[in-house]
């Protein structure tokens, strides 16, 4: 399978997950995604249950791609960053299209990073990139492993410098082969990959 692999060529979608400290971390990572990237980005950020969420207001002005909160059965637009709405899981379904679910929380979280990552790995396989950032629980560890197993590219924020290292550390405990980068290095890498010049 020459088109897949660890360099990030042929990436059609990116999934990003974070928990505690995640707004700051995503504020560095998401704006780094190049406007040249023709795929879609899906993000889960654990937040206290509230509605309406302010994520679109916070991130839209900072990002080069359009930023939206996901709606059920919404066809996926390229060049768009989708956030999971509070209190729903967000999944990628066949189509590909977005799907929401009100299933019980996973790792006490709804939306859950595992639910998004595993569903996206299933649909995109090796054309997916998974990025896991700061956080205080182990949601995302199984999901990132699923991205890797499906042949996708994976990366965690360096636990040594993450605001809260637990989430990235849990992912590395499950599979130590994820690329480990500090937040600024991760942003540079993502920017290069999405601009079409993977390092």
């Amino acid at each position: 399978m020459s088109r897949s692999g660890s360099h990030g060529a042929g990436v059609e979608a990116i999934v990003v997950g974070a928990s505690a400290g995640g707004i700051d971390a995503m504020s560095i990572v998401l704006p780094a995604i190049s406007e040249a990237f023709a795929g879609a980005v899906f993000a889960v950020l654990h937040l206290p249950r509230e509605r309406p969420s302010l994520l679109v207001e916070i991130f839209a002005p900072k990002c080069r791609l359009a930023v939206r909160e996901a709606e059920d059965k919404e066809p996926i637009d390229a060049r768009t960053i989708y956030f999971a709405p509070p209190d729903y899981h967000m999944l990628v379904d066949r189509g590909p299209a977005l799907a929401l679910s009100a299933d019980p929380p996973v790792h006490f979280s709804r939306p859950s990073i595992d639910v998004l990552f595993e569903s996206a790995a299933d649909v995109y396989g090796p054309r997916l990139m998974g990025v896991l950032l700061t956080g205080a629980n182990e949601d995302g560890a199984a999901g990132l492993e699923a991205v890797h197993r499906a042949g996708g590219v994976t990366c965690v924020e360096d636990p040594a410098t993450a605001a809260v290292p637990f989430m990235a550390a849990a992912a590395l405990r499950r599979w130590p082969g994820h690329r480990v980068l500090s937040l600024p290095a991760l942003a540079d890498w993502l920017s290069a990959v999405t601009a079409g010049n993977p390092a």
Partner: protein
């Protein structure tokens, strides 16, 4: 079809087995999950494999076909019986302030709560209608496919530790009364007022296989359509459209919309943020 496309479209073993399981369930038990959104269904079936101690979906199929009790356990794991009283209080507030004045003009009122799970949504609407002085002339049809959930709905008994959330939600819905007026708590359980039940009919009805059974002024179907693929959503919405009187109302879940559906044109938006729609006079 080039090789890359072919590789993408090739279903995994799990996908193949899941399809066969759904066919088997339909043939044997007449429950039709074939039009359910795949990604979340797959997750729930994966959970079911662990809970029911099966190594593969084929093994699960083998057991389900021969064991009706096991099928009921699987149904519980697959149908997501989660609910809450006055979930999304703003939805109920919008019904109260915006729909009730219209509903009041009908001499008798019929409401359909589709996918009522363990009854919380139906009791919420019954309480709201009681508060607005409309329950006496109302009949609420509350339907679901999960018989175990329906039995719990009939009983109207909930764990007291859920009452804090229910009470907060109820208050935020603009309620003029206190939720504690409607239940008695004993032995860790809250038993809801039997008189609310007098105007609710709980029954077995599937949006996937059954047809319309009454003409209604309001349909509330929340967090059910998200489990369906678009064709099945369209089937269910077609039932609601047929059941509703012209000018009748349809309420969906907080993240559900008619925007991507085949029936969007038959409805106008009554309250955009709370997902309340009104059937057009001409539809």
């Amino acid at each position: 079809m080039d090789a890359e496309v072919a590789r993408r479209e090739r279903p995994s073993e799990f996908d193949i087995e899941l399809q066969l399981l759904l066919d088997a369930i339909f043939l044997k038990y007449h429950y039709d999950f074939r039009g359910y959104a795949r990604a979340s269904l797959k997750r729930r079936v994966t959970v079911a494999l662990t809970r029911l101690g099966c190594a593969t979906v084929s093994q699960l199929q083998d057991r389900v076909l021969r064991d009706a009790a096991l099928f009921q356990s699987l149904l519980d794991l697959v149908t997501v019986p989660v609910s809450e009283m006055f979930r999304d209080p703003a939805y109920f507030r919008a019904i109260r302030t915006d729909l009730v004045p219209v509903l009041r003009t009908y001499p008798s009122l019929k409401v359909w709560v589709a996918g009522c799970s363990t009854g919380e949504e139906a009791y919420s609407l019954a309480i709201l209608l009681r508060e607005e002085g409309l329950l006496d002339r109302a009949l609420i049809y509350a339907t679901d496919i999960n018989l175990a959930s329906l039995a719990r709905a009939e009983a109207g008994v909930y764990e007291v530790d859920r009452l804090t959330t229910f009470t907060d939600n109820h208050r935020q819905s603009g309620a003029p009364t206190s939720l504690s007026d409607y239940y008695t708590a004993a032995y860790g359980r809250a038993v809801f007022d039997r008189s609310l039940r007098a105007n609710i009919v709980f029954s077995d009805h599937s949006l996937a296989t059954d047809s319309v059974f009454a003409e209604v002024q309001l349909v509330s179907c929340r967090n059910v359509l998200i489990y369906f693929t678009s064709p099945l959503q369209n089937r269910a919405l077609g039932l609601f459209r047929e059941a509703l009187v012209p000018g009748g109302f349809l309420g969906l879940g907080a993240k559900e919309t008619l925007r991507f559906s085949a029936h969007g044109d038959a409805f106008s938006e009554r309250h955009r943020t709370e997902r309340l729609y009104q059937k057009r006079m001409t539809a």
